[in-house]
Amino acid sequence: MNLSSSTINRLKRLQLVAQQIKAGTIRGNRRSIRRGQSIEFADYRNYVPGDDLRQLDWNIYARHNHPFIKLREHEDDLAVYLLVDGSKSMDWGAGDENKFTYACKLAAGFSVISLFTGDQLWLEVLGTGMQLGPMRGQGNLIRMLDALSGVKPKGQVHLSEASRQFNGSRKRPGLVILISDLLFVDGYKDGVKHLQGLGHEIILLQILCPEELHPGMDGELQLIDSETGEPQEVNIDRSMRRVYNQRLKAWQAEIRSFCNQRQIRYFSIDTSLTWDQFLMYELRKAGVVR
């Protein structure tokens, strides 16, 4: 996946805004309300690629032959978890309007912002086994982009189960950005609740392509689910399409209501809108980035 240098330049000037920002363990470049306070030693932690080598405790490395990073108190960073839905239903839409392509580009955009901000980034494409991170620093950008380029959506994703597994490995609360069409067979609510249960702040980006927002099908059809292969017979005519649109809007309103109740920021995205425009204007306008 390639991002133009101009896009990267514009993105790296942005910063993710976590409304319920979690206290970090190392200093980052994030402007924090606690910036400038004491930098006393607090703890060690394992080195992860991308950590500032200046914070490596070379004495400990000499004794144990294992790198540790010295943690200091009163310095914040942000754990950013990018969860991209990699189910087969995401592989829908033509060209740039393909939902998975769109999601990957959005993820790449968020990654650029996070890496250049110094946040700790974790990228996971649900359902594909692709996990990357934690990582920090812009040096990981190429690796991250290569990883996104090589992943293909496949199979089914059960969000609740995927959330449970994610919680098991990522204990540190952070900002979870879930990019999905939310067309999960077992629903999205349980999964989102699990993510929230660990204290993560969640931004929910629902991606739907124009074919899903305004289906042009007509006639007596047997619809085949691309993800499950399950058939659904339906007679589609003008009135039926009208009902579909009504039901879609009701469903999105239901999601929005659910998210509002749980202080989750929810965005519904039409892939006909370019991803960088959405990220740099729509999210900026909504205060997700600045």
Binding site: S89, K99, L183, E212, L223, S239, M240, Y244, R247, W251
Partner: protein, 636 residues
Amino acid sequence: MRILSPWFALLGLLAIPIILLYMLKFQRQKVEISSILLWQMILQDRQANRPWQKLKRNLLLIIQLVILAALVFALIQPAIRGDAISNAQVIVILDATASMQASDVSPSRFESAKEELQKIINDLPNSSELTLIQASSEPTVLIAHSQDKSEMREIVEAATVSFGEANWRAVFALANASITVPDHLVVLLSDGNFPDEDISLYTDRFEYRLVGSSENNIGINAFSISPEGSGSELLIKVHNYSDSAKSALLSIFQGEELLQANSIEIPAGETYTEVITGLPVGIQTYTARLSNDAGADTLDDYPLDDQAYIAYHPSESKRILLVSKGNFFLEKFLSVLPDSEAYRAFSDEIGGDSPLPNEGFSIFIYDGFFPEKLPNGNILLIDPPENPIFDVSPATEEYGRVDVVDHPLTQYINWDQVQILQTKVITLPDWGEPLITSEVGPLVFVGEFQSHRFAVVSFNLLDSDLPLQVTFPILFDQLLSYLNPPVMYDAPDGYRVKQAVHLKPGASVDAIRILLPNGTEEAVDLNESGSTFLDTHIPGIYTITALPGEYTEQFAVNIFSNVESGIAPRQAFSITGPNDANSAQIPPQMGLKTLWQIPVVLALVFLTVEWWLYFRRPLPLWVLNKIPTFWQRDAH
């Protein structure tokens, strides 16, 4: 309601294979989409996708089942009791007599009867056959045992009414002969104007449908002329057929001139008679006309008998004047000539106190004589002297070979045995037609000159043996017939409508044309014994024209029928049948009115809808909005 063909209901079982075929052949187009989650949200009722629910939602199947039901409903022939006739054989007698032209029923009784007949045909079951007999002077079977309704309608539409009476005995005989099955019905569409003794119907399945409502009529029932003294006398009778007194203006025309007009008033059922005397003897036409003296448009409901006609052609014997020096053979011939009065004058005695009569005779025969002035009549010249109308040369014995020209006047003439001593040499004038010719000129010729008919014999009869031959009376009878043709028809007092006219044209007549009162002209075929003209179907003056020569005569045709003029409709009557006394009030065999047309129309409508839907023609939006959608119901 009755079901006439209940077994056809079994065809309703066809619904089962139709439904099965739909269930088995319910193929949908497969379309892959990202997720069916949203559609499943809409189609929450998964049961709706079971086969019978598919059928429930399939409009085309529903329409096909409705079509099947409609067709089965039509095939079982549901029927309700109505006024339609359902007998297997229906024999309709359509009264086409003159009284059916009465206008008391708009537009006329006959047209009203035709409408009634069309209704009978329309309601007739397809399995029934119909026979239509038109009651007129010559009863005609217009439709014979037919089941073709379109043919029936066309024939009924083309049927015309006559101006005369009907031969009702023959009509009922035809009806009796047309009955071939027990399940029959004889329907009489008439105003009932026929003599009781003529009604003879050998069935008790009889229905009389009365046409007509009024008896308002006054008409001329006699109009004739006869010689009286030195002139002629006209008789006219006018009868009031109404049940109240009526007045009218009676006008008599002589030719085109009004002879007399007077207002008359006749009590109900009475006859007014008038005699007009002192009329001339000559050939003349007379017309009597009844009109309304109150200024109203119509005098009564039956205008046909408001006019009557006479073409007077007095029968007078031929008066013949023979001028000769004395010709025994001619005198003998003329004395035995029927319908003629012959007079003789000796040519030698003419002059001085004995002038030659110039008129008063229809034929003048000049034997070896030519008058100074042509008489007022036709002329037979025998052995003519020099004269101003054709060239005559002295007699010669060298006249050469004699030929008989093929001519109507030379029929039956055999000249082979005739010997002539000498003959005058005559140059055939332009107007002459030779009958017998020689090498020096015509021996006998005829022609018309200065409004006179001439017949010329070039030789002296006493110079030949012609008077001794059989040819002699034949030739002279032909010549006299040519000079004074007899009246061509046999009833100088006139004819009734549809009465045959026997024409007796003279031998010189080649062809006859007759001009009808309606302006059409008909040619009449001639044969040896004359000819018969049958087309006297219209009352009025007919003009006969005999060719060649354009000789014309006229004859009159009138209705003069008390039966037809008495237009009062008869409500009921008795018929003689198998038991010799059956009432016409026998209830008709009313049938069942089948209702197959309605479901067939419905089936066609639904078939059209199905076709429309099959090709997915867009329905108007207002229609779509009114159609309840199953999906909408399920979505809620």
